[in-house]
């Protein structure tokens, strides 16, 4: 019952099942997200949001179901598969190294090395710090993170909003087309939440397909284009944000749909 709305899906999954022993966490879930779109994924605790996200990111393997990238069937069985397809995830606990600076964090795992040291194994090649800074600067500028003073600032000294922005910048910088955000504003104050939401909106303009998981209705209605509601591991419905309201979403999350009003999108 995914609403067949306007933009063509960039990443789509159909009929995803995931069982953990006796628990049937995902019962044939459909999900899609288009480029330049922010798709909110909502549901009560235990609805299967995080499981679905982990399946999309390759951290969990679906028991059944199909993946499509631009209508082409693909397989996602590991985080590396997902990364190779351009699917990136920003975890709730951020996964940044606080003792390293912004540039080092943004290039973690893909450090540029200086040319001319090919005779050494990669682990002993010197880092190209300048190139690292240039890349970091461009990633930060692309998302218009304005409050950041220097890409050489240690992450440990940054605010929660800045850290979230850095984590997002890293996901965007990894040549990704799909970025999933898990509760990106959960631990943030008002001003910092605003900052992160600006970054999320900016990703729409850079042509990313954004999956936005949150409990905060205000954030969701500010930032999303569509809202996919899960309940008890199944789709309830997908709404256009402009055509619905928080009350309707909350009812869908907690009680599901009244049969007479199904397929609202």
């Amino acid at each position: 019952m995914v609403g067949r709305s306007a933009p063509p899906a960039h990443l789509a999954v159909r009929g995803i099942h995931k069982r953990f022993g006796g628990v049937h966490a995902l019962k044939g879930v459909d999900f899609e997200v288009a480029r330049g779109e922010v798709m909110a994924l909502v549901g009560d605790n235990g609805a299967g949001k995080s499981t679905l996200m982990k399946v999309l990111a390759g951290a969990l393997t679906a028991d059944e179901g199909q993946f499509f990238l631009d209508d082409r069937p693909v397989g996602v069985n590991s985080p590396n598969d997902a990364a190779a397809l351009g699917i990136q995830i920003v975890y709730q606990d951020l996964a940044l190294c606080e003792n390293l600076d912004v540039a080092a964090n943004l290039s973690l795992g893909t450090e540029p090395v200086k040319p001319g040291w090919g005779f050494l194994p990669r682990l002993l090649r010197p880092l190209d710090e300048l190139e690292m800074e240039v890349r970091a600067r461009s990633a930060i500028d692309r998302l218009e993170v304005r409050t950041l003073q220097s890409v050489r600032a240690k992450v440990g000294g940054l605010s929660g909003g800045q850290r979230q922005a850095i984590a997002i910048a890293r996901a965007v910088g990894a040549q990704s087309t799909v970025v999933m955000l898990d509760e990106p504003t959960a631990a943030l104050g008002v001003a910092q939440t605003r900052q992160v939401l600006e970054v999320v909106k900016r990703m729409r303009e850079t042509g990313h397909a954004v999956v936005y998981i949150s409990h905060n209705m205000r954030d969701i209605f500010e930032v999303s284009d569509r809202i996919c509601v899960l309940r008890h591991g199944s789709n309830v419905a997908t709404y256009r944000t402009a055509d619905t309201n928080p009350d309707e979403i909350v009812v869908a999350m907690t009680r599901g749909l009244d049969p007479s009003t199904s397929d609202a999108a």
Binding site: D93, L100, D101, G109, L123, E129, R152
Partner: protein, 332 residues
């Protein structure tokens, strides 16, 4: 943090360590001045060289374990590994009559292999580093005794072996200050490892692993392999330490080794490297090793009983860690 943007490597994961390093360096200067005022013999060249020589083995071991401590691990096996490397060198040189270079390769190779095993225990089998290396410590101690039949192996048949530590290349150039080769090797290793830590991919991952291993894993980095590589590099450095001690004693003493790991860890901690990982420098460790050597030597020059030297060293470690705690509690 307003220095030039390109001079960045010096800042990685280390702003905090800088203060402690300065503190440690100041302590070193104060100690040297204090001892030389108290006794004029302290500043004699022969005594200064003795201090450096005494710091060389502990310094090399401490540099190795610094790498591991920055990843958030610990290695208790370095003392007995040093001895085992010395023993294996004795086996190939004295028993098998191999040329000197084979002995050198054996020492370093044995260290690297043992480090690789420790690293696998930690990274692959997920055994806590303290336990894994405690086990390795005992295994290596036992192996040294078994291989040698508890008797020392002497290097009398290998001419030049004692020159590895006791000879002086510097003495040819500067006859007035014949720095022993052991000390030269310490400084060369310190320079190399310092470069690796601050400039290379391996160094970057060493700090990253110590801060947030999960983040490293999620970045698509093979964290286990890198961790094993770091333990292996540390083991190879300990192998050099084994060469130095064997050369200095012109023998491999199988009963030696236990306790060296704690002295090395003490030097690391005094030098401002955090035992919780993610922070530390080689320069700090070098200063830490020098402080310990100066203290031991200075108290001896002042005729303080060796028992009291141990007490003072213990107190210094506690003070150093307390200073570290105070700084971390302070805002900013």
């Amino acid at each position: 943090m307003t220095a030039s943007k390109t001079d960045s490597s010096a800042r990685n994961g280390r702003r905090g360590a800088t203060q402690q390093k300065l503190l440690a360096f100041a302590s070193l200067i104060v100690l040297v001045i204090g001892f030389s005022v108290a006794n004029s013999n302290f500043m004699q060249v022969s005594n200064l060289l003795a201090i450096l020589q005494a710091a060389s083995v502990n310094g090399v071991l401490a540099i190795g374990v610094t790498l591991i401590i920055i990843t958030g691990g610990i290695d208790l096996s370095i003392g007995t590994l040093m001895t085992f490397c010395a023993v294996m060198t004795g086996v190939v040189l004295t028993w098998l009559g191999a040329p000197l270079i084979v002995g050198v390769v054996t020492a370093i190779g044995t260290g690297a292999l043992s480090g690789l095993i420790s690293g696998s225990l930690v990274a692959k089998m997920k055994i806590p580093p303290f336990i894994a290396t405690l086990g390795m410590m005992l295994i290596l101690k036992g192996l040294s005794l078994i291989v040698t039949g508890t008797r020392p192996i002497y290097f009398n048949d290998t001419p030049g072996f004692d020159q590895i530590s006791r000879g002086s290349l510097v003495g040819w150039v500067v006859p007035a200050f014949p720095v022993p080769n052991g000390v030269l090797i310490l400084f060369v290793i310190a320079g190399l490892v310092s470069w690796v830590l601050s400039r290379t991919v391996l160094g970057r991952y060493t700090f990253a692993l110590g801060s947030n291993e999960e983040a490293v894993r999620l970045s698509g980095v093979n964290a286990d392999a890198w961790k094993m590589a770091i333990y292996a590099v540390a083991g190879a450095i300990v192998g050099v330490g084994g060469l130095l001690i064997a050369s200095r004693l012109n023998s491999a003493q199988p009963a030696l080794g236990l306790g060296y790991e704690l002295e090395a860890i003490a030097a690391v901690v005094i030098g401002g490297t955090s035992l919780s990982g993610g922070r530390g420098t080689i320069l700090g460790t070098l200063i830490g090793a020098l402080i310990m050597a100066v203290l031991t030597n200075g108290l001896r020059v002042l005729s303080v009983a060796p028992e009291w030297q141990t007490v003072v060293t213990g107190a210094i470690i506690i003070v150093a860690v307390y200073a570290d705690q105070l700084r971390r509690r302070a805002p900013g």
